[in-house]
């Protein structure tokens, strides 16, 4: 049909002279899709690298651990797990470097090999191999901080129990050294063969036995474990897999993935806002041309199709360019990030991500352009005779409802694709709708208010600028909505980022403790704190600790429960020494999951708080009675509530917490957390402590933190980088809204100039109009963003939320200045040229 080809020809011809104007429309798509493709591919790679990181933290594919030696009858079953395994026996013990130099509590880890995954960073490098080599003379590896503390060096010897070994290397970093619960002390590594000779592993001593396995790539560890689980449980053997470690690696990772989805979502929405506002203003500019086409006999459908083909074509080009840019950025990221990334990311071009990007880009161009384009069908040919007074394009259009419906579905499907969570999807959708409605309402309100309360007494420039806000052909609604929405999305991203980075930082560096002092007796507390103060170290936290043993659950004595193997209560829970603290509140790393905080009941029976996992594993429920023996004194308690603990925080964590008012007089010791600036300062404190308070042990968290910090640094970088990408899109949308709108004002400015207005007057009128629009849109957008970020904090990231006011005000100022600035720039352009030239070019 000649007609169809004519439509394409017209679309092409018309686009030649409009392309500069449509460049911003394309740029919105390019950046939106680039961010989407880049983030989705990079997100995939990051997720992979995180899972690799998890494996490195674990050092193996599977780790089995128990508090007693593995029973021989289990061996046939365990041998099925394969030959690639290392064994470890670990316990805490006093170690001594060179006689007379003092002793120190250390973690002793006796191993028959290194780690399967991750960096076991030793000095010299070869020391790790030599350690694992059973044919070489046995030697010990010792954590750097211990060697520094005792002024010992490689070649000196270390005594552990009855065994004295030469130190063959210092350990800088060990896979899996994370979490305060596992780091009881700096570590001395011994060959496993030496462990019996130490004489330290006897009945009654607290020893942990572990076996680490490596499997062929692709092995389904969960399935493998399933066949063994019952027997492992019966033998009280804990399992730790890459998957479980990945979960533990902290909410920071889950947050990061969620945040990246949010960034992609926002980038795309910004693109959509850009498309819609660009096309909206483009259509207004084209109304005269459409009227001519109609006058010459084109039908409404034909006129619409010409411009739809045009925008779809440019949208497709934009999507291709965007996908290419996204793929390129994604390919460049590992090179750019190099040292920042936790692992080497292998870059593979993600064709699904690119295909998704192309389809999304095209849909976004067509749908969001269609909305404003629809009005083209309604353009009356009468416009060729006079600028129509009656708003021919404003009549209600049933197709509009349809397009809006399709757009809603598009956004929801996309949000679901990013989050895989219907509740979140609907939440996002509702939030967006509310923001849009609020902004559109605000725009209307502004127009109405300015018109009604028009300050007739003000100066000419003000009156003219204000009147521009509501006169026919005004752009108040378009600009308030698009700039407001852009600011809203950007500010939300910014607030969320600040919130997450804030949390990651708490979990990682800066103010966090890196030295824990254990076993401080009540009468020593003042002395220890004075010592810290003298060394200019802060007391970050004091935690009282009372040790006790469990004697009965629901009045059934532990001795009876132990014999009853059918009840499923693990033996460790019945035999272990409980280290509990007492307070009335939960700290920032804890979250109430059921019941109440620790409280003292009205009946005098303490309602204790237990860790959620503990409650499940020990088969307890709220209201159960636990009887303890507190150093000889019996104490009855009731389980009043459960807590979840964020293990990524540097905080002492407790299975059981008592309320205040019960344990104050019980024998107890204090734990004090502090932070030292350097390894040397750390060693100095430790030496001073050993001299004055030999019973106090100082535990260095530096090693764990160094591993953690690595990850944290990279996460914050990625967050900033990706947010930067979206912010760029947002700024582009802002400027494109204003730049395109200039065509609305050009004729008037020229007219005013012809009528004798001075350049300065025109510039000031523009400043008033755009400055007001920008300020209003920015403030509204930010206000909405604060609401949205609060909702995200509470419902999605489960973080505390306190928006930083100053940066927000900065953003408001920036958006206002940008809007006004671009408006002025456009006027300058008009003012530079002669009125005639402008009229002819725009005619």
């Amino acid at each position: 049909m000649t007609n169809t080809s004519w439509l394409f020809r017209m679309a092409w011809r018309d686009s030649r002279r409009s392309r500069a104007r449509l460049l911003l429309f394309m740029a919105s798509i390019i950046l939106g899709i680039a961010a989407l493709v880049g983030i989705n591919s990079f997100g995939d790679n990051l997720a992979r690298s995180i899972s690799e990181q998890a494996r490195e933290l674990l050092g193996a594919d599977l780790v089995l651990s128990a508090n007693q030696p593995f029973e021989p009858k289990l061996e046939p079953a365990l041998s099925k797990l394969g030959a690639a395994r290392t064994r470890e026996v670990s316990f805490a013990s006093l170690v001594q470097f060179r006689p007379g130099k003092g002793t120190r509590l250390a973690q002793v880890r006796a191993r028959d090999g290194g780690f399967f995954y991750g960096d076991w960073d030793t000095e010299p490098k070869a020391a790790a191999q030599r350690f694992a080599d059973t044919t070489a003379a046995p030697g010990a590896l010792v954590d750097d901080v211990l060697l520094v503390q005792f002024g010992a060096k490689i070649g000196d010897s270390v005594q552990v129990g009855q065994v004295t070994l030469p130190i063959i290397g210092r350990v800088l970093k060990t896979p899996g050294q994370s979490g305060i619960t596992t780091a009881v002390a700096p570590t001395v590594f011994l060959p496993l063969a030496q462990v019996t000779a130490t004489g330290l592993v006897q009945r009654g001593s607290r020893v942990k036995y572990t076996r680490s396995y490596r499997f062929a790539p692709g092995t389904d560890v969960a399935a493998l474990l399933k066949t063994l689980q019952a027997r492992l449980d019966a033998a009280d053997i804990d399992t730790d897999t890459v998957a479980s470690r990945q979960q533990q690696t902290g909410r920071a990772f889950a947050d990061l993935t969620r945040y990246l989805s949010l960034v992609a979502f926002v980038a795309l929405l910004l693109g959509c806002v850009g498309v819609a506002s660009a096309v909206n203003l483009y259509v207004r500019e084209k109304l005269a041309a459409v009227a001519v086409l109609r006058c010459l006999g084109a039908s409404g459908r034909q006129a619409l199709l010409i411009y739809l083909i045009q925008t779809a074509g440019l949208g497709l080009v934009g999507a291709v360019l965007g996908a290419g840019l996204g793929a390129a950025v994604q390919g460049l990221l590992p090179r750019v990030l190099g040292d920042f990334l936790p692992v080497d990311i292998t870059v593979s071009v993600s064709w699904p991500a690119i295909a998704t990007g192309l389809v999304t880009g095209l849909l976004m161009a067509v749908l969001f352009a269609l909305l404003p384009l629809l009005s083209i069908r309604r353009v009356s040919p009468l416009r060729v005779l006079r600028t129509a007074f009656e708003d021919d394009t404003a009549a209600p259009d049933p197709l509009r409802g349809l397009v809006i419906g399709v757009i809603s579905v598009f956004i929801l499907v996309f949000a679901y694709g990013q989050t895989r969570d219907w509740k979140l999807t609907l939440g996002f959708g509702a939030g967006l709708l509310a923001a849009f409605a609020a902004l559109a309402g605000l725009g209307r309100l502004l127009m109405g208010a300015v018109r009604r309360f028009f300050p007739a007494g003000w100066g000419y420039v003000w009156r003219q600028g204000l009147a521009n806000l509501y006169r026919p052909q005004n752009q108040t609604l378009t600009l308030v909505t698009s700039i407001g929405l852009g600011t809203f999305l950007l500010a939300t991203l910014f607030l969320t980022q600040a919130m997450l980075l804030g949390r990651v930082q708490i979990a990682g560096q800066k103010s966090a403790a890196n030295l824990v002092l254990f076993d401080i007796q009540p009468e020593q507390r003042a002395g220890v704190e004075a010592l810290l103060t003298a060394q200019k170290l802060p007391v970050l936290q004091r935690v009282p600790i009372v040790t006790m043993r469990l004697t009965a659950i629901n009045r059934r004595p532990v001795s009876v429960l132990k014999k009853d193997t059918a009840n499923g209560i693990p033996a460790w829970a019945l035999t272990r020494e409980y280290r509990v603290t007492y307070r009335d509140s939960l700290n920032s790393s804890e979250k109430l999951t059921s019941g109440t905080r620790p409280t003292l009941g009205a009946d005098g029976v303490p309602r204790i708080s237990v860790e959620t996992g503990y409650l499940e594993r020990v088969k307890l429920k709220l209201g159960d009675t636990l009887d303890f023996n507190v150093q000889g004194a019996p104490l009855r308690t009731i389980i009043g509530g459960t807590r979840e603990i964020d293990r990524s925080r540097v905080q002492p964590s407790f299975l059981v917490i008592f309320p205040v008012g019960v344990l104050e007089t019980a024998p107890q010791f204090q734990v004090v957390l502090t932070r030292t600036g350097s390894t040397a300062a750390l060693a100095a404190v430790q030496q001073a402590l050993v001299r004055q308070f030999p019973n106090v042990s100082a535990i260095d968290l530096g090693l764990i933190l160094r591993t953690l910090d690595d990850i944290v640094d990279k996460i914050s970088f990625v967050i900033r980088f990706m947010a930067g990408f979206s912010i760029l899109t947002g700024l582009l949308v802002l400027s494109s809204s204003v730049v395109i709108s200039r065509y609305q004002r050009v004729r008037e400015s020229v007219l005013l100039r012809t009528l004798g207005a001075s350049r300065a007057q025109i510039l000031r009128i523009t400043l008033v109009e755009y400055g007001l629009l920008g300020l209003l849109a920015a403030l509204a957008g930010i206000g909405l963003a604060v609401l949205a970020a609060w909702a995200l904090a509470v419902f999605v990231f489960e973080a505390s939320f306190g928006p930083a006011v100053l940066p927000l005000l900065g953003l408001a100022a920036l958006v206002t200045a940008l809007t006004a600035g671009i408006g002025l720039l456009n006027s300058r352009d008009v003012l530079r040229r002669s009125p005639l030239e402008v009229l002819r070019a725009e005619g």
């Binding site: 011809r13 002279r17 041309a289 005779l385």
Partner: protein
């Protein structure tokens, strides 16, 4: 040189019957045309004159099918326009009507040639490019075929719009103040060209103007004042 054969004369080509247009603006009805009637035969040249605001443009819009009358009817080339939909009227315009406007109304994003091509291509005519080039040549702008409107003077733009108006061999050509934006010398050239082309094509010309000198060049004149016909269209040949 004759581009089109003259249509058989004395055939009714435009008939306007009791045409009334009322706008409902700001609460009260404003009747801008009161029961206007006239009839034109093929090849007639016809001027609608009157002071500004007398309803000339309104009448032209109604005759050309750009707008709908409040009452009365319009027959264009034996097609009754009153009950056609907007798209049907668009088709009628494309087949039977040509336009010239005071402010030219060329599509700014198309070249001169492409502007002339629009009505031809719109109805899928073969050899459109050849016809369009011949027309541009006829108005003396063959060498400016690939220029955009912004690169042409007002007179040149109006000549391009003349070429475009005649491109689809319209039965009726409507011109609304065709010289309103032009200086006297350019005006004269454009007007002469308009009447020449009109004669060659045998098109019925409906010319709206407040310029009595220009109106004098047509065979018949309709005088409007306040939406009412002051001087009925007489069939007198004026020249």
């Amino acid at each position: 040189m004759r581009l089109y054969p003259i249509l058989p004369s004395r055939m009714s080509i435009l008939r306007v019957d009791n045409l009334t247009k009322t706008y409902a603006s700001a609460g009260h009805a404003l009747t801008v045309l009161h029961a206007v009637s006239f009839e034109l035969a093929a090849g007639d040249t016809f001027a609608i004159v009157g002071p500004s605001g007398s309803g000339k443009t309104t009448l032209l819009g109604l005759c050309a099918g750009l707008d709908r009358a409040t009452s009365g009817s319009v027959w264009l080339n034996n097609i009754q326009l009153d009950n056609l939909s907007e798209d049907e009227r668009a088709a009628v315009r494309n087949q039977h009507v040509g336009f010239i406007f005071q402010n030219f109304q060329l599509l700014p994003t198309l070249t001169a040639l492409e502007n002339v091509l629009v009505p031809l291509e719109l109805r899928g005519q073969r050899g459109a490019a050849k016809t369009a080039l011949a027309l541009l040549d006829r108005v003396g702008l063959a060498d400016r075929a690939h220029h955009y409107p912004a690169q042409l003077s007002g007179g040149e733009q109006q000549r391009v719009s003349l070429a475009r108006a005649f491109a689809n061999r319209p039965a009726v050509l409507f011109a609304d103040e065709p010289t309103g934006n032009l200086d006297p010398d350019t005006s004269e050239r454009v007007v002469n060209l308009l009447f020449e082309l009109n004669r060659e094509a045998g098109t019925t010309l409906v010319l709206v103007t407040h310029d009595l000198e220009l109106a004098a060049k047509t065979q018949r004149t309709l005088r409007l004042r306040g939406g009412k016909v002051v001087e009925p269209a007489v069939m007198a040949e004026k020249r």
